[in-house]
């Protein structure tokens, strides 16, 4: 509760709303004690006095009554009626909702049908019908407004109750032989009350507006008594000649409702945990770049060269070093595997290449990504956009989430092409069919008008690959493209990628956590751990003689076909959290070869021929492995 209030107070707008509202409520409460003129005493001689004229602060109305006094009494009445309506609606609605939610079955069905019927009315029609039946009057208006809002509460509270009614403590109470009404009162109600209060706090503004509205129409408070709505209603006939009589009550309604809305928003934000973590931030078109160190010079190692790349996530005051200085390169026709556990930074490395890391919170803080020698980090958005899909294309993991659910796959393919060159509709159609055929989708002519949800997982991933091929890119970055698929489909996709690489001379960066997949497809492999590369080398060589203890353990995790007796060894422990990386080797805590010097300080990536390892006590000395 204290934490909640603190959070609320941190929201400056909500705080302002709360202060203004408290002030208005306080004034309304002490109105009878204030030295105000009598609100209902008429004095036609002094009618329509302007504000700030003698003897009256806000002027007088059409009957010469003091506006300030009427405003204060009217505010008092409006607040009271709005609050009463909210309490009545909340109580009735909650009672209905709890009964429906607790008893369920036919009772629930019947009640909720009734609630749905009430909700089928535009709210004012129902309120008008009720006032028409009961006759105009403030009390009847209150009943009408409360009645109209009952369904809202009933529906909300029912939802909460259904959730609670099947919890263990309710079952326990039932077993203890408590009666239903006892259970509702002692078990359900205490859990529902906070929700009721919050729902009330967010709707009370509405209730005040609605009762003011009915009074404005002449259906609420009757003369001489006046709430803010009927003050406005009475002033309407003098709107043009004496606008101040309308402005005064109107502004007051505005102030009240606005401060309630501000406060209500603050309450809602404070209760929505997603907003607290800042996860609702919109990712920008390209990842933020903030490099302090000098950019490393080009080395000309391959078509794509990643040099000392550093990508971090900045969440509030914490810095997560997802990628801590990674260097990779890949040549045309070559396939590089990047392997590691989830959270090792392999996907973030891949997404950093084209600035696709969600930002906020992602920031690229150092290094370079070179395409054909040219640095892309910090390149203008226009340049990045032109290269995305045309020079470097991506294939993502879960094609159900990564394809747009509402567009036909053909249209998504055509769009990929049209983003880079103008093409006629029929030409695009033909090209889309060709692409689907290229990834071996049968019946491509028909399939282009399917939506993603109408396809199987394997077919969807083929569409994902077709989309990556649409502009004949030189490099494809495949981020775990087969993880969501079953084994036979996985094998098909892998052989498809392999064929494409050979026939088109594609450079592929293949990200995976599966050594089996690496062995089938990749020429070279880089093993990542806690945001850094710990081992690198030709696939065959690394598979035969892993030198880093982590690589060895990772390989031991893969069950081998026909070797049923080998123990499948999981690696104990978890990778370190990347905002608190230990000094020295990040794997030290999980390593069975760990020694004191492992934790001393920075360990370099040691190279020997085509092999490299970041370990001072390797499984096999690097020299031996490299031979």
């Amino acid at each position: 509760m204290m934490a909640f209030l603190k959070l609320l107070a941190r929201n400056r707008l909500a705080l302002a709303g709360g202060i203004v509202l408290s002030f208005v409520v306080l004034l309304a409460l002490i109105t009878p004690l204030l030295p105000l003129a009598e609100p209902n005493v008429t004095n036609t001689a002094a009618r329509f006095q302007k504000p700030f004229s003698e003897g009256t602060l806000l002027g007088t109305d059409h009957l010469g009554r003091d506006l300030l006094s009427r405003l204060m009494w009217g505010t008092r009445l409006s607040l009271a009626v709005g609050f009463a309506a909210a309490v009545v609606a909340a109580t009735l609605g909650a009672a209905i909702g709890i009964v429906a939610g607790f008893y369920g079955g036919r009772t629930d069905n019947l009640i909720m049908r009734g609630v749905d019927m009430l909700m089928a009315f535009p709210y004012i029609l129902l309120a008008l019908a009720i006032v028409a039946a009961l006759g105009p009057g403030l009390f009847n208006a209150l009943i009408a407004v409360a009645a109209v809002n009952v369904p809202f509460f009933a529906r909300n509270i029912r939802g909460i109750t259904v959730g609670i009614a099947h919890k263990e403590f309710v079952d326990a109470a039932r077993l203890a032989g408590l009666s239903n009404s006892r259970i509702i009162l002692t078990e359900i109600l205490p859990n529902v009350i906070p929700v009721i209060v919050i729902a009330m706090s967010t709707t009370i503004g509405w209730m005040i507006l609605e009762t003011a509205g009915l009074s404005f129409l002449g259906l609420g408070s009757q003369p001489p008594q006046a709430d803010l709505g009927s003050m406005l209603g009475e002033a309407r006939s003098a709107l043009i000649t004496n606008p101040h009589t309308s402005v005064v009550p109107g502004i007051m309604i505005l102030i009240i409702v606005m401060s309630i809305n501000l406060l209500g928003d603050g309450v809602r934000d404070a209760l929505d945990p997603r907003l607290k973590s800042g996860a609702l931030s919109r990712p920008m078109a390209a990842t933020l770049v903030s490099r302090k160190d000098p950019v490393p010079p080009a080395e000309g190692k391959g078509l794509l060269e990643v040099q000392e790349l550093q990508t971090q996530f900045h969440v509030k005051d914490r810095v997560y070093r997802a990628v801590g200085g990674v260097s990779l390169h890949v040549k045309p026709g070559e396939c590089l595997g990047v392997i590691g556990e989830s959270g090792s930074g392999k996907s973030v490395t891949a997404l950093s290449v084209m600035g696709l890391v969600a930002s906020p919170p992602g920031v690229i803080t150092g290094g370079a990504v070179r395409y054909d020698g040219e640095d892309l980090i910090g390149a203008p958005y226009r340049k990045l956009r032109e290269m995305r899909g045309r020079n470097v294309a991506y294939i993502f993991q879960d094609p159900l989430a990564t394809l747009h659910p509402l567009y036909k796959v053909g249209d998504q393919l055509i769009e990929a092409i049209r983003s880079h060159r103008p093409i006629s509709k029929s030409e695009g159609q033909a090209k889309a069919i060709d692409l689907l055929k290229a990834v071996r989708i049968p019946n491509a002519e028909k399939r282009i008008s399917d939506h993603p949800h109408e396809m199987s997982g394997g077919m969807r991933q083929r569409v994902g690959i077709a989309m990556a091929l649409a502009n004949d890119p030189d490099i494809i970055i495949a981020d775990e493209p087969t993880t969501a698929l079953d084994v036979t489909v996985q094998a098909q996709i892998l052989s498809l990628l392999d064929d494409l690489r050979r026939s088109r001379g594609l450079a592929i960066v293949f990200i995976t956590h599966d050594f089996g997949v690496v062995g089938q497809l990749c020429d070279r492999v880089a093993v990542m751990y806690a945001g850094r590369i710990v081992e690198e080398g030709p696939t065959q060589s690394v598979l035969e003689t892993p030198t880093h203890p982590y690589t060895a353990r990772l390989m031991a995790c893969v069950p081998e076909l026909g070797a049923g007796k080998r123990r499948l060894e999981a690696i104990p422990g978890l990778p370190p959290v990347v905002d608190k990386l230990p000094k020295g080797c990040a794997f030290a805590d999980r390593c069975d070869r760990v020694q004191a010097d492992c934790r001393q300080g920075e360990i370099d990536l040691e190279r020997e021929g085509t092999r490299a390892v970041r370990c001072i006590h390797p499984v096999i000395p690097l020299k031996e492995a490299a031979e």
């Binding site: 089928a120 009315f121 309604i253 879960d398 989309m467 649409a470």
Partner: protein, 315 residues
């Protein structure tokens, strides 16, 4: 699609019946005897009894309901005693005016609200977002009747650019321009609150969608940021915006009552308020049932629009 629409129409029947039951029950609450209310307190007992018989009020409640319902199904909503004309004629004529006002407002609030929400989300925490958020907050806090009055004061009285009230000029031709000229202020005043609500919801729906994987895919294939926002993200966000448009249509229809009073617009809302004040119960009953039924049918249109947008909904 045809079957889907038919199915929705059939499932609307119990809702429509429910509406008539609710209205009928509320009207049955009326204290005293409607005939006395109609004829006034000086009516002779014979006349009251005759009228009660004519209105079918001497029968039990259930058969009264079915007689009323049967008559309505044949287009007979009774006769308004205060206007001395068939209720249905009056309601249809007035509803036409309301439809022009509320329909225009609905278009304004949908288009402006969605645009504001998208721009706000696309520039999250930027000046455009802050500006829109502030205006929206003001918009949803101001009572529409007060806003309407202030607009009259400013645009009609001070600037003299729009007429003060009414639907048609008192003198002069009744063409589309005259109507539009009269429509600008009330339609805008009516649209403000709904625009704010729609803008808020569109903003959060967009923020939700912009974090989805398929947005990253669109960016990865080189779609221009404009296309990412206005095509990919907005289309997906519309799935949660459209149902809110349906709900807001109800609020626009409700707000029309106030705006019709403020701007002297000859719509069904003003008719209802007048009918309540003169206790013309048949007119209230007929008007409420008719408008509520139209709203139910409108919501079917919303559902159909939703199913056209989202192929995952089984049609």
């Amino acid at each position: 699609m045809g079957r889907y629409i038919l199915g929705r129409l059939i499932s609307a029947i119990p809702v429509l019946l429910g509406i008539t039951v609710i209205v009928f029950l509320i009207m049955a609450l009326i204290p005293g005897d409607p005939a006395t209310a109609i004829l006034g307190s000086y009516a002779t007992p014979e006349n009251v009894e005759k009228l009660n018989r004519d209105l079918g009020l001497d029968k039990p409640l259930v058969s009264q309901y079915f007689i009323w319902l049967g008559n309505m199904l044949q287009g007979d909503f009774g006769t308004s005693f205060s206007l001395n004309r068939p209720v249905i004629d009056e309601v249809l004529e007035r509803f036409n005016a309301t439809l022009i006002l509320a329909g225009t407002s609905f278009v304004i609030c949908s288009v402006l609200g969605i645009m504001a929400g998208v721009i706000s989300a696309a520039n999250q925490y930027g000046w455009a977002d802050k500006g829109i958020t502030f205006v929206v907050l003001l918009g949803i806090s101001i009572p529409s009747f007060f806003l309407g009055m202030m607009m009259i004061l400013f645009f009609s009285v001070n600037l003299r650019v729009f007429p003060v009230s009414g639907m048609w000029p008192i003198y002069g031709t009744r063409d589309i321009w005259a109507l539009l000229n009269h429509l600008v202020l009330p339609a805008t005043a009516l649209a403000v609150v709904a625009t704010g609500v729609i803008a808020r919801l569109s903003r959060s729906a967009m923020l939700e969608v912009l974090r989805q994987d398929f947005i990253r895919t669109a960016r990865a294939k080189g779609v221009h940021e404009r296309g990412v926002i206005w095509r990919h993200a907005l289309k997906a966000a519309m799935v949660s915006i459209i149902p809110v448009l349906g709900i807001q249509a109800g609020f626009v229809l409700s707000g029309a009552v106030y705006i019709e009073i403020v701007f002297q617009w000859p719509g069904v809302g003003r008719m209802l308020v007048d009918a309540i004040l003169t206790r013309d119960i048949l007119l209230v009953q007929g008007g409420v049932v008719f408008v509520a039924a139209c709203y139910v049918l409108f919501n079917i249109v919303v559902d159909v629009a939703q199913s056209l947008l989202d192929p995952r909904i089984k049609t």
